[in-house]
């Protein structure tokens, strides 16, 4: 099943069979609204607790403002809810404790995550914030897979990893920014040593 044909994020009530299912309305930080089924919400521990605490009825959902998710944008939230709708009703996976973990990425998830790394980065943040265990597992696995067959130089570029020298330089810069006098004192000390002084004072 392609992402385009995935279960709708903005739930169409006509598509809901016989018994009327509960759904909720959410709003992203760029004011995009989503209607998401109650079953799909259960994939997110954070949202599930939130809606339980709010105790909304169907009427409340229609009459009250959509629940705001202030730190996730619409593009990312759309992916999140598409994932939740596709996997609704599935059990939250239990970790068997093995490390390294074996995580399989299902075909639907692989297509959903066929996105640029900037969006993938936001998706991971969202999955972590909303506590969607399996979405976090597969998105982290996708990032982990980027390391396969890469040399140290390539890994530096893929994960933006500084070298020891760069880390050291950044540390020095941070120290200087915190206390510019410290560097001046250090330089003065070095200068006195060069001039043969055996005491700083």
């Amino acid at each position: 099943m392609s992402v385009e044909n995935a279960p709708v994020v903005d739930v169409d009530e006509a598509a809901i069979p016989v018994e009327k299912k509960m759904y909720y309305r959410f709003e992203s930080n760029d004011k995009k609204e989503f209607r998401v089924s109650e079953l799909a919400i259960q994939q997110s521990e954070t949202l599930n607790r939130l809606v339980e605490a709010m105790g909304y009825t169907s009427e409340d959902v229609e009459n009250k403002p959509a629940i705001a998710i202030e730190n996730i944008d619409g593009k990312t939230l759309k992916l999140v809810f598409q994932w939740c709708e596709h996997h609704k009703g599935e059990a939250i996976p239990v970790d068997d404790g093995s490390v390294p973990k074996i995580v399989e990425i299902p075909e639907f998830d692989a297509k959903l995550m066929d996105i640029d790394n900037g969006l993938l980065f936001k998706l991971i943040w969202a999955a972590d914030y909303l506590n969607i265990v399996q979405l976090l597992n597969v998105s982290c696995k996708k990032v982990a897979n980027m390391a396969q067959g890469k040399t140290p130089a390539q890994l530096r570029r893929v994960y933006l990893l500084p070298s020891d020298e760069e880390d050291e330089a950044a540390k020095r810069a941070a120290q200087e920014a915190q206390d510019p006098r410290a560097r001046e004192v250090e330089e003065e000390f070095e200068e006195r040593k060069r001039q043969g002084g055996n005491s700083f004072f």
């Binding site: 093995s98 396969q148 990893l161 020891d164």
Partner: protein, 339 residues
């Protein structure tokens, strides 16, 4: 655009690192000290074990999932004057620029090959780097002595004694002359299982072996070439389970050993003794004077006869006599104390 790994939440970084394979982690942590430090602080390998194979051409380290051996990855260390053109360089242990390449193993598992100068004990160096990073138990070490110089394999044994004597199984195989064979018997120190599969190429019956002085304290010992074994050697093995093949003791000598063993009142560590020889035995001589009871009706299908006798300490010893299905006619006894 890249994924800035260290700008993700710490638990997410942990999950990503835990989802990577051993080889990817090994290469990743060579990028910088910080990367290695973060991995070591966040990740603890669980439910995996290491198997080591040492040989003339290469050493390799297999990382295997405990409950599912189909999931494994391999690290090779090879000694070569030249390495392939398409390599990358990594800092491993104390060496800054070790030529390395990703190489799919024959069975399709992921593999990383590292190329080292002939002048260093590269197996030990790669092992140090792997164990420092992953801290996982060593299950099995196999040393293949075929065409390996004496100096090299003695170095392996010394390294094993210093570093790995608590590994679950040490298996030494291949060929060497009898003097090296004896050196290894006298020097190897293992706590768990020792499988001594070496063939002494120049052994002859005229060799004097009674002065061989070894003190195995392993739980289990198997010696495939046991032609040199005398009565006193049998008594000096302190293992709980002992299997000896090709032994040349006579039926009378085995009987004498059994009588001494049976009469021991104090606790004796050996609870299972398996001996095989390239001849048929006479169970009547072997069990003479043991007051053995015939247990013909209770014997398993794969053995010819079964008896039992009572040890001086009251325990039951079950004896079976069987023929092995191998090229050379081979017969043997198993003596098992307890139920």
């Amino acid at each position: 655009m890249a994924i800035p790994l260290f700008r993700l939440p710490i638990l997410v970084i942990q999950l990503i690192l835990e989802s990577m394979g051993f080889i990817d982690i090994f290469v990743l942590t060579s990028v910088s000290s910080k990367t290695k430090r973060i991995f070591k602080n966040l990740v603890k390998v669980k439910n995996h074990e290491m198997h080591i194979v040492m040989g003339k051409k290469e050493n390799f380290f297999t990382f295997q999932r405990r409950l599912n051996p189909d999931f494994f990855e391999q690290f090779y260390s090879e000694s070569r004057k030249r390495h392939p053109k398409e390599v990358f360089f990594m800092k491993i242990d104390t060496i800054d620029q070790v030529p390395s390449e990703f190489s799919p193993a024959e069975d399709g598992a992921a593999a990383l090959t590292t190329y080292w100068s002939k002048n260093c004990n590269h197996g030990a160096m790669l092992y140090n780097a792997l164990i420092e990073l992953f801290e996982l138990p060593v299950k099995r070490i196999k040393m293949d002595l075929t065409d390996v110089a004496v100096k090299t394999h003695r170095g392996w044994i010394n390294w094993f004694n210093e570093t790995l004597s608590d590994a679950f199984i040490l298996e030494i195989m291949g060929e060497c002359n009898f003097s090296d064979f004896v050196w290894m018997l006298e020097n190897v120190k293992t706590e768990n299982t020792l499988v001594f599969q070496i063939e002494a190429t120049d052994y002859s019956d005229t060799f004097e072996s009674s002065n061989i002085n070894f003190t195995f304290k392993a739980k289990t010992v198997a010696i495939v070439d046991g032609r040199w074994i005398k009565m006193d050697h049998l008594k000096s093995i302190e293992a709980r389970s002992v299997s000896l093949f090709k032994i040349t003791l006579t039926d009378f000598q085995i009987n004498l050993f059994l009588r001494d063993w049976k009469d021991l009142k104090e606790a004796f560590n050996m609870k299972q003794l398996i001996i095989f020889f390239e001849r048929e035995a006479d169970p009547g001589i072997v069990l003479a004077g043991m007051n053995a009871t015939n247990e013909e009706m209770m014997k398993p299908d794969h053995v010819r006869n079964q008896w039992s006798f009572k040890m001086a300490n009251g325990e039951k010893c079950t004896v079976t006599y069987a023929k092995l299905n191998v090229d050379v006619p081979t017969f043997g006894f198993e003596f098992k104390v307890g139920n």
